[in-house]
C-alpha cells in the first residue's frame, strides 16, 4: 500500500482497511530505529536478541536510553494518523507492548477472533456517519522479514465484519487465510476482531521477531488493566456489599468477572462465566 502522504490516511487505505481488516505501511521504521530496539533488548531483555523464544514486555519502563525506542513507537506519526482515523482521536494503549520471538518449527497461534464468542464489545468494528469506529486496533512492527515460510501474522481478510460463527475447521489451511508479506521496518495495523493468528517460521528458517502494540478507543478497555477489582476502584466499603452488588463494581475490560443472573425476583452469580 502506498499512501498519498506518509502522515495521513489515503482514501485507498481507508477502502483497504475497511474491506480487509488490516493495512501494511511500508518502511516506516528506519534501520537505526530497529537497531536501537535490538541494542536495548540485548541490554535489558535478558539476553541477546538472537536467542530465546517467547514474549517480553515492560520495555516502556526500562532505564533510559533503552526505553526510548519503544516509547517513540507510541506516537510514531504515520501510525498516529491511521489510529486517529480507524480507532478515533483519543485512542489509548491498552496493555504493555510486547516483544514476540518465534523460532522455526515452534508452535504458532491458531486463528481466533470474530465469530468465536459472538459479539465482542471490546473489539467491535463498525461504521457510522461515514467514519470507521474500530474499538481495538493492534499495531505490529516486524523486526525481521515476514516472507513465505518466515512466519508471522495471518488473517482471514474481511472477517472483522463476519456475523456468522467461525466453523471449527477454519485454520491456516482455509483457502481464505492469508499471510501479508512484510519487510522488517514495515508497520501492520489490524482490527483485533478480525479472525487472525500467528504462523511459526518453518523448520530451518531464522527466528521471527516483532513488536506488538495493542491500542483501543478512548472509552473502551480490551484487557484488564490496573484498578479492576471493586476494592481497588472504590475502597474498603465495597467489602460490605453482597456478592451480587460487588459484581457490578468491577472495572472495564474482559475477564472472568462474576456474571449476574436474575429471574426478576432474585439475583445470583452465574455458574458459567
Amino acid at each position: 500500500m502506498i499512501a498519498d502522504s506518509p502522515y495521513s490516511m489515503s482514501a485507498e487505505e481507508l477502502y483497504f482497511f475497511d474491506l480487509r481488516g488490516y493495512l501494511v505501511l511500508p518502511s516506516v521504521l528506519t534501520t537505526a530505529q530497529r537497531g536501537a530496539c535490538h541494542e536495548a533488548f540485548a541490554h535489558e531483555g535478558g539476553g541477546t536478541a538472537d536467542a530465546g523464544d517467547g514474549e517480553v514486555s515492560g520495555m516502556l519502563g526500562w532505564p533510559a536510553p533503552y526505553r526510548d525506542p519503544f516509547r517513540e513507537l507510541l506516537v510514531q506519526p504515520a501510525v498516529v494518523s491511521r489510529l486517529n482515523e480507524v480507532c478515533g482521536s483519543g485512542f489509548r494503549l491498552d496493555e504493555s507492548p510486547t516483544w514476540i520471538r518465534r523460532k522455526g518449527g515452534t508452535q504458532g497461534q491458531p486463528l481466533h477472533g470474530a465469530g468465536q464468542r459472538g459479539f465482542d464489545s471490546g473489539s467491535w468494528y463498525h461504521q457510522q456517519n461515514g467514519r470507521i469506529f474500530c474499538r481495538a486496533v493492534t499495531v505490529v512492527w516486524p523486526l525481521t522479514d515476514a516472507g513465505p515460510g518466515d512466519g508471522g501474522f495471518a488473517i482471514i481478510p474481511g472477517s472483522h465484519k463476519s456475523c456468522e460463527p467461525q466453523p471449527a475447521a477454519v485454520d491456516f489451511a482455509f483457502r481464505l487465510a492469508l499471510q501479508p508479506l512484510m519487510k522488517a521496518g514495515d508497520a501492520l495495523l489490524f482490527a483485533e476482531t478480525a479472525t487472525h493468528g500467528w504462523l511459526p517460521p518453518a523448520s530451518g528458517k531464522k527466528e521471527f521477531q516483532c513488536l506488538r502494540y495493542r491500542f483501543t478507543s478512548r472509552g473502551n478497555a480490551r484487557s484488564v488493566g490496573r484498578f479492576f477489582a471493586p476494592e481497588e476502584r472504590y475502597g474498603d466499603w465495597s467489602d460490605e456489599l453482597t456478592a451480587a452488588e460487588r459484581a457490578v463494581l468491577y472495572g472495564p475490560g474482559v475477564d472472568d468477572v462474576p456474571r449476574l443472573e436474575s429471574d426478576g425476583n432474585r439475583t445470583w452469580i452465574s455458574a458459567t462465566p
Binding site: 502522504s5 506518509p6 502522515y7 516502556l60 519502563g61 507510541l74 506516537v75 506519526p77 504515520a78 498516529v80 494518523s81 486517529n84 478515533g88 482521536s89 483519543g90 489509548r92 494503549l93 459479539f119 464489545s121 471490546g122 467491535w124 463498525h126 457510522q128 456517519n129 467514519r131 469506529f133 474499538r135 456475523c163 491500542f215 483501543t216 478507543s217 478512548r218 472509552g219 473502551n220 478497555a221 480490551r222 488493566g225 490496573r226 484498578f227 476502584r233 472504590y234 466499603w237 453482597t242 451480587a244 452488588e245 457490578v248 463494581l249 472495572g251 472495564p252 475490560g253 474482559v254 468477572v257 456474571r259 443472573e261 436474575s262 429471574d263 426478576g264 425476583n265 432474585r266 439475583t267
Partner: protein, 287 residues
C-alpha cells in the same frame, strides 16, 4: 423483559418498570433524601442550558459525588445499595448491555423545586460515541451505556424532569439547535410520566435526552445509576484512575513526552489531554 417491553425499548430508547419499589423501600429512600436535602448546594442558574429560553430556571439541586449515596451511614445507604443489583434491573441490563455489565458512575441524586433549571438535550448519533452506542448483532441488542432512574416522587404530565427524543439512539444526523435548547423542539421531545416507585431506564449517550425545568409544587426526587457494558467506560472512578501516573505507575511513564503520555491514559471517555494530531510534515502534537 417481555417482548412488548423489548420492542418499546428498541424503538424508543427508554422503558419504565411500573411500581418496582415497595412502599417500605420508597419510604426508606425518601428518609435518606430527607436527611440530605438541606445539604444540597444549588448549582448556578441557567447552568448547562446552551443559551436556551425554554430551559431557564433556578440552580440545579443535585448530589453527583461518585458513590456518595452508597457510602452513607447505615441505614441510609441500604436502599441505594439494594438498587445496585436489583433483580428487575439485572434481568434487563443483561439483555440491554450484555452479561457482565458494570456500574460506571453515580448514583446521582437529582432534586427539583418549582422553577429549577432544565438541562439541554444531549447525546445523539452524531457525533458518534462508540462507548455508549446502541447496536444489534446476530439478533441481540448491545447498548454501551444505560442509566437507571429510580423515581422517589411522582412526575406528571408537564411537571418537567427527564425528557428525551424517542428513537434518537438510531439517528445519524446532528441534532438541530432548537431541539438541543427545546426552544424549537420540532415536537420530538417527550417528557415521560412516572409515579413514585417507578424505575425508568434509558440509553444514556446513545439517546438524546435532557431535563425540562421543574414546574410542580411538589419536589422532584430521582436517583440515577449509570451502567455500562463490560468493556465500556464513561466517567466515575475511571476519571480518577485514568491519569498515566496512576493507571500505569510512575515507573512506566516517568520522563515521557506530553504526546507519549496522551496514549497512556487509562480507559475513560472524558480524559483531557489525550487527543493527538499529526501535521503534514509528521509532527505529532496535542490537540
Amino acid at each position: 423483559m417481555s417482548e412488548e417491553e423489548r420492542y418499546f425499548w428498541d424503538l424508543t430508547g427508554y422503558t419504565v418498570i411500573k411500581g418496582l419499589m415497595t412502599p417500605a423501600e420508597l419510604a426508606a429512600a425518601n428518609a435518606a433524601v430527607d436527611v440530605l436535602w438541606d445539604q444540597i448546594e444549588p448549582g448556578g442558574e441557567d447552568a448547562a442550558t446552551a443559551g436556551s429560553q425554554a430551559l431557564r430556571g433556578s440552580g440545579r439541586l443535585t448530589i453527583s459525588d461518585d458513590a456518595f449515596l452508597l457510602q452513607l451511614q447505615a441505614p441510609h445507604c441500604d436502599p441505594f445499595r439494594r438498587m445496585l443489583a436489583h433483580p428487575a434491573v439485572v434481568g434487563r441490563l443483561n439483555l440491554m448491555c450484555g452479561k457482565g455489565f458494570r456500574f460506571d458512575h453515580g448514583p446521582h441524586f437529582i432534586g427539583g423545586e418549582k422553577g429549577t433549571v432544565g438541562l439541554r438535550m444531549h447525546g445523539a448519533g452524531d457525533p458518534h460515541r462508540p462507548y455508549v452506542a446502541y447496536h444489534h448483532h446476530d439478533g441481540q441488542m448491545f447498548c454501551g451505556g444505560v442509566t437507571v432512574s429510580w423515581n422517589l416522587a411522582d412526575v406528571n404530565t408537564g411537571d418537567g424532569g427527564f425528557a428525551c427524543v424517542p428513537g434518537s439512539h438510531k439517528s445519524r444526523y446532528p441534532m438541530p439547535k432548537g431541539v438541543q435548547t427545546c426552544d424549537d423542539d420540532m415536537g420530538v421531545v417527550e417528557q415521560p410520566t412516572v409515579a413514585a416507585g417507578d424505575v425508568l431506564l434509558f440509553m444514556d449517550g446513545a439517546q438524546t435526552h435532557g431535563t425540562h425545568p421543574w414546574t410542580s409544587d411538589a419536589q422532584r426526587r430521582a436517583v440515577l445509576f449509570k451502567y455500562a457494558s463490560r468493556t465500556s467506560t464513561r466517567t466515575g472512578a475511571s476519571t480518577r484512575l485514568a491519569p498515566p501516573e496512576i493507571y500505569w505507575g510512575p515507573e512506566t511513564v516517568e520522563g515521557m513526552t506530553a504526546e507519549q503520555r496522551a496514549v497512556m491514559y487509562g480507559p475513560c471517555a472524558s480524559s483531557e489531554k489525550a487527543f493527538l494530531s499529526v501535521s503534514e510534515d509528521g509532527k505529532v502534537s496535542l490537540d
